[in-house]
Subunit: 267 residues, 3 copies
């Protein structure tokens, strides 16, 4: 792997200028934080899940987030309707496989979504992605079990199999569209001590994907942006709650110099 520089700030500037609408069907735990992270990036979050309106809402959006954290069968049906609309419009659909592996329902619904609609970015931690890739692992709740498999290879294979960009978050993040694979080495341990970092990362990725067609680049840039902010936030935080507040405030003001200097990306 070799160290590269990606133009994170260029995309962030585009987000701030174009203010894309990012439509979410997401979980009820972190829904505020997901909306707010999109907002402080400069974009416009919309959370709407009624079957009767999701297709129309997806049509005014520039990307769509599906997060199964608090799924129900009806909710996943609404996700499918939204995704079909997004697919028709040609906007990227990002799936957060939150808790995949924890229950049969989650596995089944992830596979239904992957089989029945086009998912452009599949995102999860190592155990979630391993499960979706058909590897035999168990998820302990929604927290990551580190697995011994070669996660880079799993990401590449899944990307190839599903013709999607695959994002595996962890101490180092893996982003692969089968042809290119990025490793993001930014981030901070405090991210594991609050609820919502995984969900927010997904919303950030979707926001970057709303302005950049190269989805592995968009996802990588989004992760860099979020995790550089986390590194800065951690420096002046006495604990995880203050840390979360500072992530929002840091993202709101991120500049080119900081993003260029602090990013640690390999390809």
């Amino acid at each position: 792997m070799t160290r590269i520089k990606i133009d994170v700030y260029g995309l962030l500037e585009k987000i701030r200028k174009e203010k894309p609408v990012v439509h979410h069907l997401t979980n009820w735990v972190t829904i505020y934080d997901c909306a707010n992270i999109v907002k402080v990036l400069g974009a416009s979050p919309v959370m709407a899940h009624a079957k009767e309106e999701v297709a129309q809402m997806a049509k005014i959006a520039s990307s769509l987030v599906l997060n199964i954290g608090t799924l129900t069968i009806d909710f996943v049906e609404a996700m499918k309707i939204a995704a079909i609309s997004a697919n028709a419009k040609g906007i990227p659909v990002v799936l957060d496989a939150c808790g995949a592996g924890a229950t049969q329902l989650r596995d089944q619904k992830c596979f239904e979504l992957l089989d029945e609609v086009k998912i452009n970015i599949i995102k999860g931690n190592s155990s979630e992605i391993a499960r979706i890739a058909g590897e035999n692992v168990a998820t302990k709740g929604v927290d990551a079990n580190l697995v011994n498999k070669d996660m880079i290879q799993i990401a590449k294979n899944l990307a190839s199999q599903r013709q999607a960009t695959v994002v595996i978050t962890g101490k180092e993040d893996i982003v692969s569209d089968a042809k290119k694979t990025y490793i993001i080495k930014n981030g901070h341990p405090l991210m594991a001590n609050i609820v919502g970092t995984g969900c927010m990362a997904t919303s950030v990725i979707a926001t970057f994907a709303a302005v950049e067609k190269d989805l592995s680049l968009a996802a990588s840039a989004g992760l860099v942006c979020f995790e550089v902010a986390a590194e800065i936030a951690a420096k002046s935080s006495l604990g995880p709650a203050k840390f979360k507040e500072k992530i929002f405030d840091t993202i709101f003001k991120l500049d080119k110099k900081t993003l260029d200097k602090m990013q640690r990306v390999e390809v």
Copy 2:
């Protein structure tokens, strides 16, 4: 228009003393912030949406908030049941037309609510209210599109047509009950950089409406209270997340001197 002084503190004191219950059927994104803003005002928020209990819950409340931000058909049915109960008790019903204009479902459900139950205060940004007033505008998600119409006239007309108080939030807020029209010039640009200010404003208005029968006065006083707090909070905030925290903490302690001095209201 002429500058006036309204007794915001007198109403705030009444809220703190009477601790009215403010019943909400609201959206899942900002539900915590809506409850908490009511709480720091000194009142008692209740969020309950089961069809089987909303009528009874509305009966123990002093005002009712209906916010369609994450509406479903069933949820709006529960709103109607709650509103009918509130109407029968004679407590004010406040509708936040969150996202009206974005989808046909939202428009249809707003009109159903306006036609089938008595809405006492109709609140939205300029594009949402224009849509409800039958003007031809489009909403980009839930964020405001400024429109070129004379919003004051639209507010007056809608107030007259629906026999309600109409609140249009924006850089300057318009509050009209057709006979009287207030312009509130408080507020801060940072309010547009976090999710939830619109929803919280609605909950604040409903809390003031719980203790003051003159609803255009109540709505104006509520907006002044919220926006004066925002101005104070902005002074010591490095970013939008800290700003939100400080809005809560500022409202909790607002005093007469500050509210008298900082309010900028015209009539």
Copy 3:
């Protein structure tokens, strides 16, 4: 009553080491705070409510929270399925009787839960618990009405009747399993000025119950932990929102010396 010392830190250390999964079916207002308080304790929160997965999710958990704050009939049915699974596995089930007494639906559903599944810890404020115990009181929304009854006796009787541990929160908390009764004298008045302290207390109790079989001890230790953190947080908080942030950050770092020194428990 005599002052005693309980080993709060020993249990906190166990939580941090074992990282138990705490499964919640809880209300939509405070769901984030409930998840996050479990997280900063060092445990792993899971919020899942689909009927099709709650039994399986409860099986990977070490305790289960049922909170009826925003109940619906379907949601309570999912609670029953989760609780039956938890009962079969032998993990503790904690019921937060949020708003009991406010509506007939809440009363009815509390009694159904108590009658149809095994509830190991019943938690509420004085008016909620009095209602569940069959005393004739009214709840004003979800806030506590102080009642004149002897709440200690009510706690003991209910504990005996339901063969459960009963927790009554208030200025002083009562924890009784009929045989033993603890009084927790920690806490701070600011806790009454934000939304979510009651719900978070329940999640903390469930987290301690996940690592300690003596449930009245677990509940007491959880309350001490939460309320000592609140006392520390209040010292440096200018208002209720900052106070909440500091509760999270204080819990994250609580040490043995502080917990030993600051606890005020009688038995």
